[in-house]
């Protein structure tokens, strides 16, 4: 296994994990992985990274909606609803 092959595989790993590659490309990556433990370990770390990103809890939450801001938004929402009612 050459580092050039590893680098080619490395460039496609997200698309592989997102199932966005053609079947023949998936097969080529799986064949490479079967004979390349470092790439297999790297793929596992990337998969875990994606899992952690998807499980990320928002650290930033908005403050309470001020009454005036809520009133403006509600009025806009009601205008929209009024526009959807049959005449």
């Amino acid at each position: 296994m050459t580092q050039a092959e590893c680098k080619e595989v490395f460039a496609l790993l997200s698309q592989y994990l997102d199932q966005e590659l053609a079947p023949d490309m998936c097969k080529a990556i799986e064949t490479h992985m079967a004979g390349c433990l470092p790439c297999e370990d790297f793929l596992a770390s990337l998969r875990k990274t994606i899992d952690l990103c998807r499980a990320m809890q928002a650290r930033h939450a908005p403050g309470p909606l001020p009454a005036a801001a809520r009133s403006d938004l509600l009025e806009a929402f009601r205008r929209f609803k009024a526009g959807t009612q049959p005449a």
Binding site: Q3, K7, F10, A11, L13, S14, Q15, D18, E20, P38, C39, D41, F42, A44, S45, L46, K48, T49, I50, L52, C53, R54, A55, M56, Q57, A58, R59, H60, A61, P62, G63, L65, A69, R70, D72, L73, L74, A76, F77, R78, R79, F80, K81, G83, T84
Partner: protein, 189 residues
């Protein structure tokens, strides 16, 4: 009218925190994010009548939020774009007696218990917030909001191939930061 208010509250409860999170991660300032969120929600309600595909409301709302962020921070966050090279995100190789190895942490040892989740969540959030804006926008929409490649491309006005390329580099950059942290913790222990 009561039904209107319930539907309004439901919408605001669902979308306001998500738009705010995206805005604060993109703008970097809470005050700016509060303003962007209010602007975005107002634009959403004002143009809801133009929404042709209700199933795509999340992508449509985030496109409005993205534009509100852009208007707020066009001079600082979105320009000039900083590129991440693939080479800089590849780990180094080292030769050992057993063959070649990549210099990466042992991710299989990552703690599963919930007490460590908070720390890891902070690390991930910090790593995402440090990404250049063009990559941060993609990873927030694809991996945090779990929107599709096509929806993300539409929101950001770029091609799907660009989304795929930026997403991969964003993930690699986050992976690299986490890997460095895990290795430094291990070396301390």
């Amino acid at each position: 009218m009561q039904g209107d208010e319930e539907a309004f509250d439901e919408f605001v409860t669902l979308f306001r925190p998500r738009i705010f999170h995206y805005a604060v991660m993109m703008c970097g300032q809470r005050d700016d994010a509060e303003e962007v969120t209010q602007d975005a929600l107002m634009r959403i309600f004002e143009s809801l009548g133009q929404l042709r595909e209700p199933d795509r409301i999340r992508a449509w709302a985030f496109r409005i939020a993205k534009n509100a962020c852009y208007m707020k921070r066009r001079r600082s966050v979105f320009a000039p774009p900083e590129e991440l090279s693939l080479d800089s995100l590849m780990p180094s190789w080292r030769d050992t007696s057993g063959g070649r190895e990549l210099e990466i942490a042992d991710w299989s040892a990552l703690p599963e218990d919930t007490s460590s989740r908070g720390e890891i969540n902070d690390l991930v959030s910090q790593a995402v917030s440090e990404l250049p804006g063009i990559y941060r926008a993609v990873i927030l929409l694809r991996d945090f909001e779990e929107l599709s490649t096509a929806e993300t491309a539409q929101i950001l006005d770029v091609g799907e191939d660009v989304v795929k390329t930026r997403l991969h580099r964003a993930r690699l950059a986050v992976r690299q930061k986490l890997d460095r942290h895990f290795r430094s913790v291990r070396s301390v222990v």
